[in-house]
Amino acid sequence: MSVLVVVERQPGAVDELSLQAVTFARALADGAPVHALVVGAHADSVTPTLGEHGVTTVHVAEDEVFASYAPLAVARATAELAGRLRATAVVAAGSERGNEVLAHLGALLDLPLAANCVEATSGDPARVTRLRWGGSLLEEADLHGDVKLLTVAPHAVSATHAPVADTSVERFAPQLSDADRVIRVSARTQAATGGVSLAEAKVVVSSGRGAGSAEGFGIIEELAGLLGGAVGCSRAVTMAGWRPHTDQVGQTGTKIAPDLYIACGISGATQHMAGCKGAKAILAVNTDPDAPILASADYAVIGDLHEVVPAISAELRKARGA
C-alpha cells in the first residue's frame, strides 16, 4: 500500500498547499511510502523540499503538454501512476487546480472524490471530515472505492517536516491520447481593466447612478488609469446595464480592500458599503452633504463628480508633468 500526492508547483518551489497535502498524506499513509507526482520541465528541482516533507519517491511525468496547465493530462498521468503503484489513496491540495485534476481523475477511474477534507482515516470505507459552507460546517462522510480520492482543505493542516533519507526520482512518459491534451491553457490575456483586478487593486475609483450614463464613466476610467487603479460601480449602474457585474462593488458584487477608495456619486447604500468596508481610506465625492457615505468617508468633496473628477485628473497630470 502507498499514497500518491499530486503536487503543484510555483516557479521554483512547491506550492504551500501541496506541502500541506503531503503532510496530510503522510498521516493517511501511516508509515507506508508517500509518492509524489510532479509534471513539466525541471520538475525534479523540488525533490529536496518534498524529501524533507516525507516523500519517498518523486515521479516526474514528462510530456510537452505539461508546459502549460493541462488538468485532464495530469489526471491521466496520475491514473496511470496510481495503477502502477497500486496506490490506496490519491491526495491533492484543495486548490482550484487540485480539485479540478482530481475531479477529472474521479471521472477517469469512475470513483468518488471527497473534496476539502480536514481529516481522514484509512480503512474501507474511509471516514472523512470535510469543510462545508465556506468553513462554517463540518461534514463527516464515508468514502468508498478501491482508491480513495481526496483533496485537502487549504490550511486544514500545517506543513511539517519529516525528512526521508534518500528520496528517489523516477521519470516516465505517460500514455496520453489527443483528447487528453485538448484541455490546456492555450493563451493568457490581461483582463480589460488594464491588468488591475478589482478585488486586488490598491486604488479603486467607482461611480454610481450619478455618472449619468455608460459614457459618463469615461472620466472615472481616466482617473483610475492615472492612479493605476481599477474601476468599480454600484448596483444601480449594473442594473442600468452601464457596466458589467464584474465591476460591481458591494454585498452581492466584489468585496474590495484597496488603500484608497474613491466613491463618486455613490450614496452609500448598506449593500454597497458591505463591499468596501475593507478599504483603508475612503474619499467620497457627492453633491448631497447628507449622503450616508459621508458617515464612513475619511475625506469628502461636496460637489458634482463631473466637475470634481476631471479636476483631480488635471491636477495629477500637472503634478506629473512638472
Binding site: 459552507w133 444601480a236 442594473m239 457585474h245 454585498q251 452581492t252 447604500a269 449593500q271 450616508p292
Partner: protein, 659 residues
C-alpha cells in the same frame, strides 16, 4: 338479465377498472412522499373544504372565470344523481323506480327537475364562457398549459349535458317523464323537436346510451389529464395549510437517520402533500398571472414549476415503486432548473391565488434546502450574506456592538442582563439597525412610543438576525440555531410582548418561533401605533397630500395586517390605493433573501414603483425596511418624483404639525 344490462355492466366494468388502476397509482405515488403533519385541526379543514371547494372562494376572486367554473362545478354536484338515474334507464326504458328509494324519490320531485334544467343551462353557459375565455380572450396565464386537453374536456362536458337535456326532452315527448313537464321548461321546450313515434323511441335509447358512454369515457380520460383535479382537488384543499400562512414547516435535525431529511432532492423526498399538489394542478395559471418573477421576465412560473414536478413524479414514481434499487435522479436541474428555484421571492401570491391550495413556496424552499444544505449550490453572491448572518449575527456583517448606534440620544432603554422586563420590547431588526434608509423608521417608532409614554426597551447588541433570510435561502440549520439563541435571550429577558417593525422579523417571531418554544404576543409597529392613535394617545394632523400605501407581502399576505397601516395613512394624509393591494399586493422584490441576490430580467421594484406612480400620489408609504430600500432604489432607478417613507416616519411628521 337483459342484454342492455349486460352491455352496461361490461362497459362500466372496463371503465371503472381503468379508472381504478390509475387512481391506485396516484394514491401509491402520494403515499411515497415524505411525512408531513396534516391530520390535525379538523374544524379548520372542514371550513376550508366548505368555503374553498363548495363555496369556490378562491376561484371567485376573479369574477368571470370564477363564475364560469362555479357553474360547471355546482352543476356537476347537482346533476350527480341524474348520472345514476340515467344508468338505470339504460337497462330499462321504464324501470319504475320505487318512490321509496332515494333515486326514485328524487326523480319524482318537481323541484329537482327544475334544478336539473337550471344547472344544465348554467353548465352550458359556463362552457360557453370557458370557450370564450380560451378562444377569444386568451389570457397569458394559459401560456405553457395543455390547451388541447382542456378543449377536449370542454367538449366532453358539453356532450354530457346536452345528451342529458335531449334525453329528458325525448322522454317528455314520449310521455315517459315521472315529473311534471312544467317543472322542466328547458327540456319541455326542446321536446318540441321530437315526435312521438318509433323514431323518437329509438332516439331516446340512443341519447341515454350516449349520455352514459360519454360519462364513462370522461371517467377514463380524466385521471390521465389535467382534469385529474376533479378527484384530487377536494382532498388537496382538505389537507392544505391550516396554520399561520407565513410559517414554514421546520425540519427535524434530531430525527432518526432513516427519517432525517434535508429538503427535497428527489421525488420521494417531496412531502406527500407536495406530490398531491402536483396532481391537483389544473394548469389554470392564476399563480403565473400574479407571480412577480414571471411578470418581470424571469424563468420561474409557479405553474410550470408544479407541472414540471408532476411530470417528473409520473416519469420516475412508478419506477421507484416497482424497483427498490432504482435511483431517482435529482429534481434540480432535471425537473426544474436552478434558476427557477432561486427566482422566487417567497411573496406567496401564487399560494394566495391557487384555487386548489397548492403550496408552491413550501416546495421551492424545500428544493433550496436540499441545494444549500446538501450540495452547497446557490447563487454565489448570496454566500457573504449567509456567512455574515452566521458570523456577525446580521446579513451585512456589521459589528454587533453597533446595533444600537441608531438609538443614541433617543432615550430608549437598552436591556442589560438582569434588567427589569419592559412592558413592550421593540424588536428593531437588522435592516433598521444598520441601514441608513431603514433606520429612520426605527427612530420614528421609538420617538412615537416614548411620546405615548409606552414602557419600551430594546435588546441592543443582544438582538441578532432572526434567521429569516437564511431560512428562506434554504439554510434551515442556521435558522434553527438563531431561533433557539433568540428564544433563549428573549426568555431570559422576561419578554412577553414584542413590537416588530420588520414584517420578516414579525412573521418569524410570531409564526415560527413558537415551534422553538418562543411564545410571545407579537404585534407589528403599525398595529401598535394605530392603536395609540385610536386611543388618542397620539394625535396626528392629516394634510391634503395623497399617499399610496404599499402592502408588504409578509405583513399583508402572510399575516393579514391590512387595516392598521391604512388607518395610519388615513390619519396623516389622503390615501389612494394601487391596483394591486391588500392581500393581493405585488412584491417589492426583496423577499426570499432576494435582498442579497442579483436580479435578472427587468426589476421587480421598478415595476412596483411604476404602479405606485400611476396613482398620482406624491408619497409612497411603506411598513417594511426591505420595501423601503427596494422601492427607494426603484424610485431612483426610474427617476420618479415620489417620496418613499415608512408609515411611522409620516406619523412623526403629522404629530409635529400638531405642535
Amino acid at each position: 338479465m337483459p342484454v342492455s344490462a349486460l352491455a352496461l355492466a361490461t362497459v362500466a366494468a372496463v371503465a371503472l377498472t381503468l379508472f381504478a388502476r390509475r387512481a391506485l397509482l396516484v394514491l401509491r405515488l402520494v403515499r411515497m412522499g415524505a411525512p408531513l403533519p396534516r391530520f390535525d385541526d379538523l374544524p379548520k379543514r372542514v371550513e376550508n373544504e366548505t368555503t374553498i371547494v363548495l363555496g369556490q372562494k378562491k376561484l371567485l376572486q376573479r369574477v368571470v372565470p370564477g363564475l364560469m367554473h362555479a357553474f360547471i362545478f355546482w352543476g356537476f354536484v347537482v346533476l350527480f344523481p341524474t348520472i345514476l338515474i340515467a344508468a338505470i334507464y339504460v337497462i330499462d326504458r321504464e324501470p319504475g323506480l320505487p318512490a321509496a328509494s332515494p333515486l326514485g324519490w328524487i326523480e319524482g320531485q318537481g323541484w329537482f327537475a327544475l334544478l336539473v334544467d337550471l344547472f344544465c343551462l348554467l353548465v352550458l353557459v359556463g362552457i360557453a364562457a370557458a370557450f370564450w375565455i380560451r378562444k377569444v380572450q386568451r389570457p397569458n396565464r394559459f401560456q405553457g398549459s395543455h390547451l388541447g386537453e382542456a378543449d377536449l374536456i370542454l367538449v366532453l362536458i358539453t356532450g354530457i349535458v346536452s345528451t342529458l337535456l335531449l334525453w329528458h326532452a325525448s322522454q317528455i315527448a314520449l310521455g315517459l317523464n315521472e315529473w311534471g313537464a312544467d317543472w322542466s321548461p328547458l327540456s319541455n321546450a326542446l321536446s318540441g323537436l321530437f315526435g312521438d313515434g318509433t323514431a323518437t323511441e329509438a332516439l331516446e335509447r340512443a341519447l341515454v346510451w350516449a349520455h352514459v358512454l360519454i360519462i364513462l369515457s370522461f371517467l377514463v380520460y380524466l385521471p390521465y389529464s389535467k382534469h385529474l383535479h376533479i378527484t384530487t382537488a377536494a382532498p388537496n384543499v382538505f389537507f392544505g395549510r391550516t396554520r399561520a400562512k407565513g410559517r414554514l414547516e421546520p425540519l427535524d435535525f434530531e430525527a432518526a437517520d432513516d427519517e432525517l431529511r434535508f429538503g427535497a432532492g428527489t421525488v420521494p423526498e417531496l412531502t406527500w402533500k407536495g406530490i398531491l399538489d402536483t396532481m391537483s394542478c389544473t394548469e389554470c395559471g392564476r399563480c403565473q398571472d400574479v407571480c412577480p418573477a414571471w411578470a418581470t421576465g424571469k424563468a420561474l412560473s409557479p405553474k410550470l414549476l408544479i407541472m414540471n414536478l408532476r411530470d417528473h413524479v409520473f416519469a420516475e414514481g412508478p419506477k421507484i415503486l416497482a424497483d427498490e434499487s432504482f435511483e431517482p435522479t435529482p429534481l434540480v436541474p432535471n425537473a426544474v432548473t436552478d434558476e427557477v428555484v432561486w427566482d422566487c421571492v417567497t411573496c406567496g401570491a401564487c399560494v394566495q391565488e391557487c384555487p386548489v391550495s397548492i403550496e408552491h413556496v413550501d416546495h421551492i424552499v424545500d428544493l433550496r434546502r436540499h441545494l444549500v444544505m446538501v450540495e452547497s449550490r446557490f447563487p454565489a453572491e448570496a454566500e457573504s450574506m449567509l456567512r455574515d448572518v452566521e458570523r456577525s449575527g446580521n446579513p451585512w456583517g456589521k459589528p454587533q456592538d453597533e446595533r444600537a448606534a441608531w438609538a443614541e440620544g433617543l432615550g430608549v432603554r437598552v436591556l442589560q442582563p438582569g434588567s427589569r422586563p419592559p412592558e413592550v420590547l421593540y424588536w428593531v431588526g437588522c435592516a433598521a439597525s444598520f441601514d441608513e434608509r431603514a433606520r429612520l423608521s426605527a427612530e420614528s417608532t421609538v420617538k412615537l412610543l416614548l411620546a405615548a409614554r409606552v414602557d419600551v426597551a430594546i435588546l441592543g447588541p443582544r438582538e441578532s438576525c432572526t434567521g429569516d433570510p437564511a431560512r428562506r435561502m434554504g439554510n434551515e440549520y442556521v435558522f434553527q440555531s438563531f431561533a433557539k439563541q433568540n428564544v433563549a435571550t428573549l426568555d431570559e429577558a422576561g419578554v412577553t410582548k414584542i413590537v416588530a417593525s420588520c414584517p420578516h422579523c414579525f412573521n418569524t417571531l410570531a409564526n415560527e418561533y413558537p415551534d422553538f418554544g418562543g411564545r410571545y404576543e407579537v404585534v407589528h409597529h403599525t398595529e401598535f401605533l394605530a392603536d395609540l392613535v385610536a386611543r388618542r394617545r397620539l394625535r396626528p394632523v392629516a394634510t391634503d397630500k395623497t399617499i399610496t400605501y404599499h402592502d408588504s407581502c409578509y405583513l399583508a399576505r402572510h399575516n393579514d395586517v391590512l387595516a392598521a397601516p391604512r388607518e395610519l395613512v388615513a390619519a396623516v394624509g389622503q390615501p389612494v390605493e394601487m391596483e394591486r393591494s391588500g392581500t393581493r399586493t405585488f412584491c417589492c422584490g426583496a423577499g426570499g433573501a432576494h435582498m442579497w441576490m442579483e436580479e435578472r430580467g427587468s426589476a421587480i421594484n421598478e415595476e412596483r414603483v411604476r404602479e405606485a406612480a400611476e396613482t398620482g400620489a406624491g408619497t409612497l408609504a411603506v411598513a417594511c425596511p426591505f420595501c423601503t430600500i427596494m422601492l427607494d432604489d426603484g424610485v431612483r432607478q426610474t427617476g420618479r418624483d415620489l417620496r418613499v417613507a415608512d408609515v411611522s416616519t409620516l406619523l412623526v411628521e403629522a404629530l409635529e404639525r400638531s405642535d
